[in-house]
Amino acid sequence: MAQTTPGGAPLLEVRNLKVEFPTRRGTLVAVDDVSFAIAPGEVLGVVGESGAGKSLTGAAIIGLLEPPGRIAAGQVLLEGARIDNLPPEAMRKIRGRKIGAIFQDPLTSLNPLYSVGRQLIETMQTHLDISAGAAKQRAIELLQSTGIQAAQQRIEHYPHQFSGGMRQRVVIALALAAEPKLIIADEPTTALDVSIQAQIIALLKKLCREHRTAVMLVTHDMGVIAETADRVAVMYAGRIVEIGPVADVIHRPEHPYTVGLMGSIPSLVTETERLAQIDGAMPRLNAIPAGCAFNPRCTRVFERCRSERPNLIPVNTTQAACWLHAR
């Protein structure tokens, strides 16, 4: 049940994606029946606790699931064409060129033995028909646009000569090097100092607006989502439990899990003694309960939640997978 987005055909469409890990003790389903779409230039936030399947969804889209993980069912469409069943070489050409990626830890994302210029230039020359000189010129402009001072000299430098925040700027430049249409940013600020997080997010937002690049922003930080995303998908135990425009999901969450998530964000406006918390922990992949996966922790659980699994249904302006709304 892919949804159409304002502004024409979706850039990326994920239909009923299922990612599983075969193990000796049976198959673990890490991402289950996930569907969403991203419009050109749109920022989709994906939130959830660790292990909810956010990162795996991203990895599945760019075809970099670590074996034995595999796409067991569903489709991934880029600009209307399936990419989940492409041969490796064709998929490689899409990575970087059509879909860029940014990973969590900028300290380890860059090859320590190559200068940043070399890494930028090789990325461009892999995907674009561009001379070495022109690539170098573009690399300098790109570094400048990410706010790195004296890019002319810095381009010769090696990753260890940059601080964490600076390295994440380089990583962003690398992800944008071949002008992709979509960037999958997997926890791009988690490993950074809080003081730098806002800068990096603002930079990402600015550059993507300039380049009209869509972003799938995977994070567990609701603050980042509220600031950046157009729409947000909330994931729990491998499924999307709520998806909708970011303001609506934050102010009028429909799923009890989303309600809990919002309650756990500290507010500067109202004083609270204690933050609300959701009791218990997300189930392990090999012990997902029958019915709604959230039912053991849900405060508003009733009979149907324990036996039947809810699907996403429209609720006001968002969609939520909860029996409370199936009246």
Binding site: R95, A101, S109, L113, E122, T126, Q161, S163, L174
Partner: protein, 327 residues
């Protein structure tokens, strides 16, 4: 950089002095040269005179100083067995050993590195399993046994290759080479394979394990996400990062190849320094033993120095002075 080289050269000098001390000790603890030179009939006066002539009644430090002084000039006196200058003997034998060691080292690298890369990339293929199994044999079988088997198969049963000696050699100044004649090339095949097998399997296993380690890193994942070709990811980014530990081990092993060519040279009656040393040990030919000891130590020290300089060439983190880091 220069300070580093100077420091290393001084350390090397200290190592060489220690080795010279041990070599010098050989003269004092392995029999009395005066007794063996004069025979049993000599009077105590004769002995005292010879002792004074030879400088053997000088204090210890003076004798050691003159030993070191001569050693620096390459003079270690006369061989007790052959009555010729030790330096001339070693000079005659050195080309044979160095050519054998060089051929073995090249074989080990040229075959070992690609096999290591292959077994890391195609971890589960049957050919990798075969290579790994054979490499176990290479690591665990003693050199002399491998040499004898090779002789049995290729020299005795098949009659393709000579079982001993160096074949015809061509003189280039004082250097004699077997590379320029057919019989010389044929003769070097079996001993160089024998000598290289251990190091080859070591290099292969080392490259494999380092490569597996590197392939798991974030920057390889990110290189893939940028859509770089497999060739560039595997042989550029990944292999470069495995080189530092490989250089260390190969450097040490290269010294080992030269030093422990003794066994291979004995099995194949290869007219090199190792064979000279073995014969010297049998006849208690102390000047030859002392000279061999110093020469091998010198080779080790030089190789280690080169290895340290290679680190600088490979790893930019060592190359750049601290002033420019830490932005």
């Amino acid at each position: 950089m220069l300070a580093f080289i100077i420091r290393r050269v001084m350390q090397s000098a200290a190592v060489m002095l220690t080795v010279a001390f041990v070599a010098f000790g050989l003269f004092n603890f392995v029999g009395d040269p005066v007794a063996s030179m004069l025979g049993q009939d000599a009077t105590p006066d004769d002995r005292a005179r010879l002792r004074a002539d030879l400088g053997l009644d000088d204090p210890f430090y003076k004798q050691f100083a003159s030993f070191v002084g001569n050693a620096v000039k390459g003079e270690f006196g006369l061989s007790l067995r052959q009555g010729r200058k030790v330096s001339t003997l070693l000079k005659e034998r050195m080309p044979a050993t160095l050519e054998l060691s060089f051929t073995a080292a090249i074989l080990a690298l040229v075959l070992g590195i690609p096999m290591g890369v292959y077994t890391a990339l195609r971890r589960n293929s049957w050919f990798s399993q075969v290579l790994l199994t054979i490499s176990l044999v290479g690591v665990s079988l003693p050199t002399f046994l491998i040499g004898i088997y090779l002789i049995l198969i290729f020299a005795v049963l098949l009659g393709w290759l000579p079982s001993f000696g160096r074949g015809d050699v061509t003189a280039l100044g004082w250097w004699t080479t077997g590379y320029l004649t057919q019989s010389g090339l044929k003769a070097i095949i079996l001993p160089s394979i024998t000598l290289s097998l251990f190091v080859m399997t070591l290099v292969m296993r080392l490259v494999r394990s380092e490569m597996l380690e590197v392939l798991r890193t974030d920057y390889i994942k990110f290189a893939r996400a940028r859509g770089l070709t497999d060739r560039s990811v595997h042989f550029g980014h990944a292999l470069m990062n495995t080189l530092v530990p490989v250089i260390t081990i190969v450097g040490l092993q290269l010294g080992g190849i030269i030093a422990f060519a003794i066994i291979t040279e004995t099995v194949f009656q290869w007219p090199g320094m190792g064979l000279l040393f073995i014969q010297a040990v049998q006849f208690a030919d102390i000047p030859v033993m002392a000279a061999y000891l110093c020469l091998i130590a010198l080779i080790f020290v030089i190789i280690n120095l080169i290895v340290d300089l290679l680190y600088y060439a490979v790893d930019p983190r060592l190359r750049i002075d601290r002033a420019t880091t830490g932005h």
